[in-house]
Subunit: 341 residues, 2 copies
C-alpha cells in the first residue's frame, strides 16, 4: 500500500483563516470537459466610451454627471444594496425567524479615467492612487459611528458579474461584520490569544520557508496560493509586517502594495492570455472602535477559470451542499503562475 | 422616520439551520442589468442520443458499456473526486498547515433511460424509483465503515456546470462530514438539546401558520422558500414527520416525496418558461453509526436565475468576501412561485 501523498491522493485541507475545509482531488485534473464554455471578452476598448456611465464627463442613470476626473473617482452607488437611512429595528418570530435592520453605504470607485485599462495595465504610481483612495474611504467610512465594517472589493470580467469593463471596484460599508470576516476574526483572535502573534505573520513566515506556494514577493508584501485555496488559481496578498488596516500602512508599504498588485494581475493575464477575470477583496479589521491586535491586513483574489480562457470551475452541487472541492493542487497552481514570471 | 419593514429596508436574516446570515436588499430589485446573459438550452433532445455516455447501451470513456436499463442506472463515476483506496495519513506543519487523507466513493445515477426528460417531465412513479435508488445507495454506502456521510445531489443545466443534459444526479460518499452538513448538525443538535424537538419540525410548523413562504405541500412534505434563502428562487423540501434519513422513510412518504419534487420542478420550469437550472441536494444524518435524533431530512434547491431565463444572480465580490446578498425577498419569491400553480 502506498503512503499518503498530497500530490496524488484525495484529501481535505484545513483553512486556518476560516476554520473550514476544502476537498482536494489531485488525480482528477485529467477529467475531460464537455460542459459550458465562457466567452472571454476579446474586444479592444476605446480610451473613452461615450456610452459608459463610469467614463469622465458622462451622465449616469440618475441624471448626475461625472466630473472630468484625472486619476480616481468615487461616488455613492446609484443602486446601493445598503441604505444609510434604513430605520433601526428587528423582527423575530419564535426562536427560528430572526432579522435585523442593516444600515450601510455602497460606493463605486473608478480606478482610472481610461476606459480601456485594467489594474495590470496601469502604472504603479496610478495604482498607488487607488490605494490612497481605499485608505481614505476605509478611514472616513469607518469613522461613522454606525459603520463597523468596510468591505472593499472588485468584480472583474463578465463571468464575475461585472456589467461594465471600465476599471472600477466597490465598497460596501455596514453596521455588522459580515460572515466571512467574522470567521477570520474568530480564528485570528484564537491564534493571537494562544500564541501572542499574528496568525498570518506566522503563516507567511512558514510559506517563505517552504517556497512551494509563493508566487511573488517584494520588500513589504507576499503573493501566494494559500495552502487551503478553493479556486484553482486563488491567491492572497499578505503584508509582511503585521498591521491591522489601511489606516496603519506606511508610504513605502503603499508603493509595495501597488507594485505587487500590478505584477500579480499581469501574471494572471498571461496565464491564459486574456484579461483575467476574478473577484478580489481586502480584509482588514472591523471599524467597531476596538483595537483588534489579532487582525492582519490581506487581500484575496478568487478567479473562476480552471483550465483555459473558456473553462471555469463550477462551484455547484457538491460544493453548495458539502464543501468546496478543487482538482489541481495549490502547489501546482503556484508553480504554474511562477513559471510565467 | 418610518418603521423598519422587511419588504422595504435593507436587513440581515439569520439562517437558523447554519447559524450564518444573509443580507437582503428589497429596494434593489429595480436595478437595470447590463452584464452577462446566459444562453438557455432550448434545443429539443432526442429520446436516445448515440453520443451520450449516459444513454442505455452506449459505451463510456473508460470502455464500459451501459446496460439497456429500463428505469434507473447507477455506476461509479469514471472521474471520481474521491478515491476508495486513498491511503490513510495526514500532513501538518506547525499549527497552520493541516491536511488529512479522505476516502470516498463517487457515483452517477441516471434518473431515466430517456435522454429527453427531466424530473419535471417524468411520471411520479418513475421519480419514485429514483427515490428508491437514493434510499438503497444511502443505506449501502452508509453501511461501509469508512463512509460517514453520503451526499446525494443533482446539477441541472449548463449554467450549473452540468456537462450532459441526460437526466442524472450524483452521490459523493466520504469519511468526514462536509462543512455545510456539519454546520446544520451543530445547529440542529443545539436546538434539540435545548427544546427536545427537531428544529425543522418547529420551523415547518411556524411556516405552515405564516403561509407567506410556502410554495406547495402534500400530506407528507412541504416545499417553501426559507426565511433565510440566499438564491433568488431557492426552496427547501422538508418532511412533515421528523425522521433522520431515507432509511426511515415510509412507502407513502416516498410517494409524497416523488410527487412534491415533480410539482416543484414543474413550477420552476414555468417561472421563466425554460427547463429551469439548479443544483439540488439531500441533507440527512451522517452515517457515522450514531443515532442523530436531532437530524431532520430535507432537500435544498439552489437555482441561479434572478430575473429571466438569461439573467442570473452572481455570487461574487461582496458575497465571496462578506456574505450572500439577495434583492427580491423570500416572501415575494414564494408568492411568484405560488402564482404559477
Ligand atoms: O458533474 P461533474 O462533471 O462531475 O462536475 C460538476 O459537479 C461537481 C460536483 O458539484 C463539481 O465539482 C464540478 O466543478 C462540476 O463541473
Ligand atoms: O456590480 P453590481 O452590478 O453592483 O453587482 C455585482 O456585484 C454585487 C456585489 O458583489 C453582487 O451582489 C451582484 O450580484 C453582482 O452582479
Amino acid at each position: 500500500m502506498s503512503t499518503f501523498d498530497l500530490t496524488d491522493h484525495s484529501h481535505r485541507r484545513y483553512n486556518a483563516l476560516t476554520g473550514e475545509w476544502v476537498l482536494v482531488s489531485p488525480h482528477r485534473s485529467k477529467r475531460p470537459w464537455q460542459g459550458q464554455q465562457e466567452k472571454p471578452a476579446q474586444e479592444t476598448r476605446p480610451q473613452y466610451d461615450p456610452t459608459c456611465y463610469l467614463c469622465p464627463t458622462n451622465t449616469r442613470a440618475n441624471g448626475e454627471t461625472n466630473p472630468d476626473y484625472q486619476n480616481t473617482f468615487v461616488f455613492v452607488n446609484d443602486f446601493a444594496a445598503l441604505q444609510a437611512d434604513s430605520p433601526a429595528g428587528s423582527y423575530s418570530k419564535g426562536r427560528l425567524l430572526k432579522a435585523e435592520s442593516e444600515r450601510g453605504i455602497c460606493k463605486v470607485i473608478c480606478f482610472s479615467p481610461r476606459h480601456d485599462l485594467t489594474l495590470s495595465d496601469m502604472a504603479v504610481e496610478d495604482i498607488r492612487k487607488v490605494v490612497d483612495l481605499w485608505q481614505q474611504e476605509y478611514l472616513e467610512l469607518g469613522a461613522l459611528d454606525y459603520i463597523n465594517y468596510v468591505q472593499i472589493f472588485e468584480n472583474k470580467g463578465q463571468v464575475m458579474g461585472s456589467s461594465n469593463p471600465h476599471p472600477h471596484g466597490q465598497i460596501w460599508a455596514q453596521s455588522s461584520v459580515p460572515v466571512e470576516p467574522a470567521k477570520e476574526s474568530a480564528q485570528q483572535l484564537a491564534y493571537y490569544q494562544e500564541n501572542g502573534r499574528s496568525l498570518l505573520a506566522d503563516y507567511v513566515q512558514l510559506e517563505l520557508e517552504e517556497k512551494s506556494r509563493i508566487v511573488l514577493e517584494n520588500e513589504h508584501f507576499v503573493a501566494l496560493v494559500p495552502f487551503w485555496a478553493v479556486w484553482p488559481f486563488e491567491t492572497m496578498i499578505v503584508s509582511k509586517r503585521h498591521f491591522q488596516h489601511l489606516g496603519q500602512i506606511t508610504d513605502k508599504e503603499k508603493d509595495g502594495y501597488a507594485e505587487i498588485m500590478k505584477r500579480l494581475s499581469a501574471v494572471y493575464d498571461s496565464l491564459f492570455e486574456i484579461s483575467f477575470p476574478y473577484s478580489a477583496g481586502l480584509h482588514q479589521s472591523p471599524t467597531d472602535g476596538q483595537e483588534h491586535p489579532e487582525w492582519h491586513f490581506h487581500m484575496h483574489f478568487y478567479p473562476p477559470l480552471l483550465r483555459s480562457a473558456t473553462v471555469k470551475k463550477f462551484m455547484v452541487g457538491y460544493e453548495m451542499m458539502g464543501n468546496p472541492q478543487r482538482d489541481i493542487t495549490p502547489e501546482s497552481a503556484a508553480e504554474r503562475l511562477r513559471s510565467l514570471l
